[in-house]
Symmetry: C2
Subunit: 215 residues, 2 copies
DNA sequence: ACCTGAACACCGTTCAAGT
DNA sequence: ACCTGAACACCGTTCAAGT
């Protein structure tokens, strides 16, 4: 029953499967060895230590990420479509995004998207440092949004606090300004959980509108 | 040499110190016990398991966070000042923010800031669901930005990829649109590392301008 | 060149036993 | 009510030894 000889590629494949199916927490060297039917120590020979294994894994999926193409008529709509594409790609790799983030590779991951954003920003008439700022603002916005969003999904017991907002601030100092006097629709809207999809589009569009208006 | 009896408060204090000085990774039950001069198992009696200890720790510092007051003349400037305050508070607890984030408490952490934002958004004339969207958009923007920013700081080997953007896309398909034809200032700006402080203010101001303009 | 088991230094957690 | 040590089931990593 000699197994096919272990390769670096096979190790990465098994590791990726483990992460995909059971999350990054399930990726232990010993469990991986079990999955591969080898001794733990063999893995070290092929991919170095655990940290290097994770690096390779991340590198791999970053390169697998597809290009992002703009769609829409106005530059603002095209920027929004690129942002939506970035978000979609991030969300398609729910486990990886955290690992990419921890490794500081989020920007490299979005080089193609950056290229697309540059084109749109220039089409809107922005040049030089101002154009660069606009591109970066959108990139930060998108990545940041997805990070917050993903976290929100993982721990759904978020909203209880949001209701308190409308009770009198009991323990707090009296210098807290009175807010939302007589706007029950606002209060209700904030009490409801946010619709991330809508909020995302709305935010990116607002940001893009303001930034591109300078062109 | 009988030590003063162990209390829940003492455990939390020691744990907080450990995190503050050596990061969350240093907070192990055994090391904590060592620091306190007790058996590991005593900790369990006082605070439950490690997860509950972290919960309590986070809860603690979330409540310690000060109120945030708006400053400035226009609603936009006042929103920007609140956002800056949120960012400052987050950055003052560099280790905690990750823990808060993982526990999905970021929003609760910012209830006072939300109250301030509601006031400004209403001052700009927004009402109901539209006002709620504006508030949430800013909140997401700020928290997301700080998350991305913090990650960037932790792994400074980020920029190498950004240079590649301006080389001909060698391996990539020919369908990649040509970008930034003849804008060396843009290329240079994107090659330089971003100035987060500037980018933050710029982004929040742009977002606030567009959102508040609807009022 | 590739794979192995043994060993080291860590983890979090449970539990029966002490006072 | 509070604290303890022993024990269990895990970790990542090193290393000398095998083929």
């Amino acid at each position: 029953m000699t197994r096919s000889p272990l390769t670096r590629e096979a190790v990465l494949e098994a590791a990726a499967a483990l992460v995909r199916e059971h999350g990054p927490g399930a990726l232990t060297m010993r469990r991986l060895a079990g999955e591969l039917g080898t001794a733990v120590t063999s893995i070290y020979w092929h991919v170095g230590n655990r940290e290097q294994l994770l690096d390779a894994l991340v590198e791999r999926t970053v390169q697998d990420m597809g290009a992002i193409r703009a769609a829409g008529r106005t530059p603002v709509e095209r920027v929004v479509s690129v942002a939506a594409g970035m978000r979609r790609e991030l969300r398609e790799h729910p486990h990886l995004i955290g690992m990419v983030h921890e490794r500081g590779l989020t920007e490299r991951m979005f080089l193609p998207a950056q290229r697309a954003l540059v084109a749109e920003v220039r089409a809107a008439g922005l040049r030089g440092a101002r154009a660069a700022d606009a591109v970066r603002a959108v990139q930060f916005q998108v990545v940041g949004f997805v990070l917050v969003e993903r976290n929100r999904e993982r721990s759904p017991v978020q909203s209880p606090g949001e209701g308190e907002l409308w009770d009198p601030p009991q323990g707090s100092a009296a210098d807290a300004p009175a807010t939302a006097p007589g706007d029950p629709a606002l209060a209700r809207a904030l009490a409801r959980p946010a619709d991330p999809e809508r909020l995302f589009t709305l935010s990116v569009r607002a940001l893009a509108e303001a930034l591109l208006a300078q062109g």
